[in-house]
């Protein structure tokens, strides 16, 4: 009965696949291309700067390692939130959704600190050199995605607290989770290609 009720809320394509989920995976595929373009622009331009600061002079590995760890742990809390919703354990889901949003905010806080430090202490701005331009555009767009994710998570948290979240609409949490994990895997790439391989 529960699955039939859940199915009544979902729309299926003629392939038998959920249309929202199919749309979202297509969107994530297009996001891969978007970030692929930004990453390649960074990799092409980073060594073309005629003036400093250069990547190895400014990039803070300890700080970004913490950010990488925080975002990975937020992926764990996100799947635990989804598991809670799917099993109708809404209290558990609220806790993990809040934890995910909190970890996302820590990540954004670290990025704001990093950007502020680069601009005020290192003199690296968007206009300074090609490294600065491509670095700020790439990591800034990723940070904007994380910010959208945090807002999305907080809206789900509000739904949960107002009693509108249950296993019937677990797909809402699953799709938010897909988005959240996607920003995590983009950071896995950025952390390696931009920070560790300088």
């Amino acid at each position: 009965m529960a699955t039939a009720a859940a199915a009544a809320d979902h729309h299926y394509t003629t392939t038998g696949l959920n249309s929202r989920k199919m749309l979202f995976w297509t969107f994530l595929g297009s996001e891969c291309m978007f970030f692929g373009s930004l990453i390649s622009t960074y990799l092409v331009y980073k060594n073309h700067s005629t003036t400093g600061p250069y990547p190895h002079e400014v990039l803070n590995i300890p700080l970004t390692s913490i950010s990488a760890f925080v975002l990975l742990m937020s992926s764990l809390t996100m799947v635990l939130a989804l598991a809670g919703v799917q099993r109708d354990r809404i209290g558990q889901a609220k806790l993990w959704l809040a934890a995910t949003a909190f970890l996302g905010m820590i990540f954004i806080g670290n990025q704001v600190y990093e950007f502020h430090h680069f601009v005020t202490s290192e003199g690296l701005t968007l206009q300074k050199n090609l490294f600065g331009a491509s670095f700020f555009v790439l990591t800034g767009f990723h940070g904007a995605h994380v910010t959208v994710g945090v807002i999305w998570l907080l809206s789900l948290l509000i739904m949960a607290f107002s009693g509108k979240l249950s296993s019937k609409n677990s797909l809402d949490v699953e799709i938010a989770g897909l988005y959240w994990h996607f920003v995590d895997i983009v950071w896995i790439g950025i952390f390696t290609l931009i920070y560790l391989i300088q």
Binding site: T3, A4, A6, A7, A8, H10, Y12, T14, T15, G16, L17, N18, K21, M22, W25, T26, L28, G29, S30, E31, C32, M33, F35, G36, S37, I39, S40, T41, L43, V44, N47, I61, S65, A68, F69, L72, M73, S75, L76, M78, V79, L80, L82, A83, Q86, E174, G177, L178, H181, F182, D184, I185, I188, G189, F191, T192, L196, I197
Partner: protein, 117 residues
């Protein structure tokens, strides 16, 4: 692994999906991801690893990427069509990166800067 299939009100038969894993498996994946991240950072700081830095980091990050996509994004358990949709975008993205780096000689400049890597 059990399978779950829903029936729609219109009588259509949605594709079957495998049940998602439990908290225990999610925690095991998180532990593996944490260890890999620690190894990545350690490799970055170990001078003796300089020669193998780039290939090691690329392999480790690829493993992390696959683990998150397969287990946390459930592609291992969902219908293969979702995997194809994502892989298509990912393949084009990889093509964009490699093509642009070849066009602008980025691989050559990178090799000259890291002759041992």
């Amino acid at each position: 692994m059990s399978e779950a299939a829903h029936s729609t009100p219109q009588g259509e038969h949605p594709a079957k999906e495998h049940a998602h894993p439990g908290a225990g498996e999610y925690l095991r994946i998180a532990a593996i991801l944490t260890v890999i991240t620690a190894v990545e950072v350690a490799v970055f700081y170990i001078p003796a690893m300089a020669q193998w830095l780039v290939p090691t980091l690329l392999v480790l990050s690829a493993v992390k990427f696959v683990l998150v996509v397969m287990f946390y994004m459930h592609l291992k358990f969902d219908h293969p069509t979702f995997s194809w949709l994502f892989t298509l975008g990912l393949t084009i993205a990889a093509g964009i990166i490699i093509s642009l780096m070849l066009l602008f000689d980025a691989f050559v400049r990178f090799h000259n800067m890291h002759p041992a890597g």
